[in-house]
Amino acid sequence: MNARIERDNVVTQALGQIGNCGVFLLQILAAIPRSLRYGRETVRQLWFVGAMSLTIIMTCGLFVGMVLELQLYHVLSMFGSTSMSGTVVAIATYRELGPVVTALLFAGRAGTAITAEIGLMRATDQISAMELMAVDPLAYVAAPRFLAGLVAMPLLCCVFCALAVFGGHLVGVSWLGIDNGTFWSNMTATVDVWQDIVSGVIWKSLAFGAVVALIAVYQGYTAPPTSEGVAYATTRTVVASSIAILALDFVLTAFLM
């Protein structure tokens, strides 16, 4: 009986969080026109969540492409189709690995930083100070970070995909001896711009960027103003973002395929 009540409470709390997050999204969207006057702050956040994430995104993209090519080469060699390995690397990256892995890394690198920063701003009364200086924190703090996440994710995803294909080329052509012309011609003949790049890279990464940025800003904004509260909020950002990315990926794939 107690276990059931506890389970019901967890479900109720989770649904409440999702509902509150939805209301918060509407508040941010309403604050975006007011935040346009803080363009410099949005650019600063874009640098912080985008440019500062480049190292980890580039490194991971390179290694994901290299590992994928290595695995595929050995599997496809059984069927005499190693020349197609580069194509499979590209399609897998554009459609799934690029947006999903970039979003997971983005949540870990930029999402946690956003949550911790806003949570500490609240704990040290900086958010209250802005309100009392007649500066809307939704427009000055929340909306620029949300917009920065929305813009940065597709760009980071493109970089990730480019490095993954480069990594695949490095292993497949330079190391395993696949013909360079075959590698590129098979890829360009098979990859569809709309199906693979626009639907996969652009739409998915836009959706993931919005979800991760929303969760990160919401968790920071609603974090209890204590060190423990900020720590829990940061953890919740990673957990909630990861679950949301994977669940949303399934839904988007089902609709976009």
Partner: protein
Amino acid sequence: MNAAASPDDTLIRIRGLTTVLNGKKVFDALDMDIPRGRVTAIMGPSGTGKTTLLKHITGQMHGDAGQILVDGRNVPDLSREALYALREKIGYLFQNSALLTDFDVFENVAFPLRQHTKLPEVLIRNLVLTKLQAVGLRGAAQLMPSELSGGMARRVALARAIVFDPMLILYDEPFVGLDPIALNQVLKLIRTLNETLGITSVLVAHELEAIKQVADHIFLIANGKVVAQGDPRTIADDGSPWTRQFFGGDADGPVPFQYPAGDYAEALGFPRSGA
């Protein structure tokens, strides 16, 4: 020094403010008139809602009943735009300074000017340096908040609070952590702002000696109501049990020192007498 202001001289008029937080009645039909152009101190035991009262005045919190009229406008009824317009005329000094940690001292003080005006950079620079000079920290303009002591941060926050020459400044515990020199300078500054610019000042503080030097009027609040008010130099002599206990620092009196708890002997595991 003033005792009671006429209605026209009242900047903040609170009527019947009732607030219940977590089941506890913080304000119980509180009435208060804060005169324009004077320095008013709000004192009271810890946890009586002094900071909460400042939050009501600035519209950060709303009570369950009652009116808070600031310059003739009822704060709980104001729209977001009207509330922000009112806040532009109010300076607020936080207990913990609340400086923006991404900006240096200069940019912290310049922040309200940059957000609400299109003044040329030269004028912003001069205004900021003037305010920093007033709090004795012009030389610290390039320091980051993390490089400041608690007292210095408080003075920077004060410079930021006065950068717009507001009609009202709310000070939440302004004297905590200040060394005697800084304390004296802050006291002088509060008095000077009040006398030269006609700014109304409301202080929440516990330091009676400092309050005596700067305030025109004191409200003592406890149990959700104003239990005493008057001139700082004579309020302690009014003979009420509230003022006697608070200004005398007695543990016994109408304000319990002990948080409500069960039997002490029982908690320590001693047998009850007569059992």
